[in-house]
């Protein structure tokens, strides 16, 4: 791809109202939620909206989308973590949604704190011209990065994944967490508030709160998103999207009506026919994403597709940070170029499996619908195979 002059991106954004979304997991779906909310509010004027719906979220992808719709005055942009600082500087966004920070592609981003620092510095530099940030209060690194923004709307997303944050991003001391809440069946229902054991960094009080299937708004009213995409993490994404939509001036009921039209954002959670089998496609890019996606894979046979191309991360060691043990007793098909690494992981997890490296072949001959969980590169190939 052409190396884009960052100034060109600034020119393409100029004159538009911009909302951007970043984070490791959930940015495509959350961006779709916000775009759908805005579209609902625009009614017949949807041509005013530009949205990089297919997840092309680097400088070039964003610029290409913007250049195709020069007249759209509202831009809802999924933004790669590495592009956030540039776009804050050049794009003067009105709203910036920061979802979460998780280790991902460690062969390229060996330390996630550096990315957080780039966000923090960009927001500090933007000062009073900077965006209002909608930020996940459950994530210490997000909170630290967002602190320098002129205004932050904190969202308590009821996140339960804590394995990427054990030290304070501000001072390096251990973080403390309240005991997480558990439901009657023992599953985690809330991650528990956190604070630093040494400095003053702590979970900020939230304006929006996820409570089970509902979102509590700043005025105390409770709304039920009733989404058409699965998973508690999508309720969290919807809470962030709702906050962003309201900042853009969208009525909350209209925002939710719009969000309910989102069914398969860039193929995620979509169902397709591949090699004659019915397959639902779930994307999981890192241990945090797998922790969310695997419980959604409820079919008797589950297909897991692994690759180690640049977009997947070339080191597949992360397979050992995913609790595949939960698939014990199910029928698992390991596929993709790194299927054999997964096969060894499954053997040590005590999970019965077949290894079929070819994706199309792995999807052949399933009489009942199968859930497929895939890393980025095989996910895109499966979308193509299924026409999603």
């Amino acid at each position: 791809m052409l190396r884009l002059d960052p100034a060109a991106l600034g020119e393409l954004v100029a004159g538009r109202r911009v909302a951007m979304v970043s984070g490791t997991n959930g940015k495509t779906t959350t961006t779709h939620f916000i775009a759908a909310a805005v579209r609902e509010a625009l009614g017949p004027d949807t041509h005013r909206l530009v949205h990089n719906a297919d997840g092309a979220n680097l400088h070039g992808g964003i610029a290409s989308e913007l250049s195709q719709q020069p007249r759209a005055d509202l831009a809802v942009l999924e933004t790669d973590e590495r592009v956030v600082a540039d776009l804050v500087r050049l794009g003067r966004p009105e709203v910036l949604v920061l979802l979460n920070f998780s280790r991902d592609q460690l062969d390229r981003h060996h330390e996630i704190k550096g990315l957080g620092r780039s966000w923090r510095d960009a927001l500090a530099a933007a000062g009073e011209d900077g965006p209002v940030v909608v930020a996940n209060a459950d994530e210490p690194l997000i909170v630290w990065a967002a602190q320098t923004a002129r205004k932050v709307v904190w969202v308590d997303t009821a996140t339960t994944w804590t394995q990427d944050a054990s030290l304070c991003p501000q001072c390096g001391a251990p973080l403390l967490r309240e005991q997480p809440e558990r439901g009657a069946d023992g599953t985690l229902t809330a991650g528990g508030d956190w604070r630093c054991s040494r400095c003053d960094l702590a979970q900020p009080p939230a304006a929006y709160r996820v409570v089970g299937d509902t979102v509590v708004r700043p005025d105390g009213s409770s709304v039920t998103p009733q989404l058409n995409v699965p998973g508690g993490f999508n309720v969290s994404n919807a809470a962030c999207a709702l906050a962003a939509a309201e900042l853009l001036g969208v009525d909350p009921e209209a925002a939710l009506t719009g969000m309910r039209t989102v069914t398969a954002p860039a193929g995620r959670f979509g169902t397709a026919t591949i090699s004659g089998s019915t397959a639902r496609l779930l994307l999981a890019k890192n241990p945090a994403g797998w922790a969310e996606a695997l419980p959604l894979a409820t079919s008797e046979t589950v297909v897991l597709a692994i690759d180690s191309a640049a977009a997947d991360g070339r080191d597949v060691s992360w397979l050992w940070d995913v609790e595949y043990e939960q698939l014990t007793g199910r029928s698992v098909v390991a596929t993709g170029p790194r299927a054999q690494d997964l096969a060894v992981r499954l053997a040590y997890a005590g999970v019965e499996h077949r290894t079929v490296p070819d994706l199309a072949e792995a999807l052949r001959g399933h009489p009942a619908p199968v859930d497929v969980v895939a890393t980025y590169t095989p996910f895109q190939r499966l979308r193509k195979l299924g026409g999603l």
């Binding site: 330390e111 604070r195 080191d315 397979l319 050992w320 992981r345």
Partner: protein
């Protein structure tokens, strides 16, 4: 308030448990756990259980004392701040030194390997306040780590010296495969022996050696996790800890993975 309790998924008792009890201790997963190295603990516990041992996997976090009952202690890779936090907690605890004194095995990967040495250097010259800091290690291995001229990232293949201390050319079972990802370059002192000789990759400091051995303390760079990709090394650790020879454990899926990774990395050469 309490520190997060992680790893509930892997800690516990493995296998039938008719045989002797063997305890594997995974040290500070919350600090040294970002590169999947907990897999080394899963591999050791399972390989013990498959052989009928009563395998117990204990996960210990900073603030809790290291148990004095373990036969194998595992350290993994982590970020700079976590690495400093981990080494200070281990120095305060002292349990790892006691374990080595009574002959237990310490297997340390990447940041864990650096921690086990005499000193290591952290810092990020690209950020303000990121100046180099030299940190005192545990001194369990006669190695010193400083910042290298470039980050070593990629598949690595080395030939294990086994116990003989000489390269073992007999067959592919002595080849160690993994993925290295480290900015520190490690140099061995006179008391440490290299674990292996590099065929593809950087290893300790691009001097042709990889890892270090001091008695029952072994340090190495590769993730993978390295014991999942190299079952012979996993069994060597167990034999060292138990003082007995173990029967082979044929697993066709591991053989297939090794063939695949060796072919892939040799293609890079």
């Amino acid at each position: 308030m309490s520190t997060p309790s992680l790893m509930n998924d892997v800690a516990g008792t493995y296998g039938p448990g008719d045989g002797p009890r063997v305890e594997v201790v995974l040290v500070y997963q919350s600090l040294l756990g970002i590169y999947g190295d907990r897999g080394n603990a899963t591999v050791l516990a399972r390989r013990l259980a498959w052989r009928g041992f009563d395998a117990v996997l204990t996960v210990v976090e900073p603030g809790d004392p290291l148990p004095d009952t373990g036969q194998v202690y595992l350290l993994g890779g982590g970020e700079d701040a976590a690495q400093i936090s981990a080494v200070r907690a281990l120095q305060a605890d002292g349990g790892l030194h006691r374990a080595v004194d009574r002959g237990a095995v310490v297997f340390a990967v990447c940041a864990g390997y650096q921690i086990a040495g005499r000193t290591f250097t952290v810092g990020d010259p690209t950020v303000p306040g990121g100046e180099d800091q030299v940190i005192e290690g545990l001194g369990l291995l006669d190695v010193t780590t400083t910042r290298g001229p470039r980050r070593a990232v990629g598949e690595i293949l080395s030939r294990w010296r086994r116990s003989s201390g000489a390269p073992d050319d007999a067959d592919d079972s002595a080849l160690l495969s993994g993925f290295e990802n480290h900015g520190g370059w490690t140099r061995l002192g006179p008391d440490a022996q290299p674990l292996a000789d590099v065929e593809v990759g950087v290893g300790n400091c691009a001097d042709g050696t990889e890892g270090a051995v001091n008695g029952t303390v072994i340090g190495t760079y590769p993730h993978g996790p390295v014991l999942a990709r190299n079952p012979a090394l996993a069994d060597h650790l167990l034999e060292l800890a138990l003082g007995e020879e173990l029967a082979p454990l044929p697993r066709p899926e591991i053989d297939a993975l090794r063939r695949q990774r060796l072919a892939a990395v040799r293609h890079l050469r």
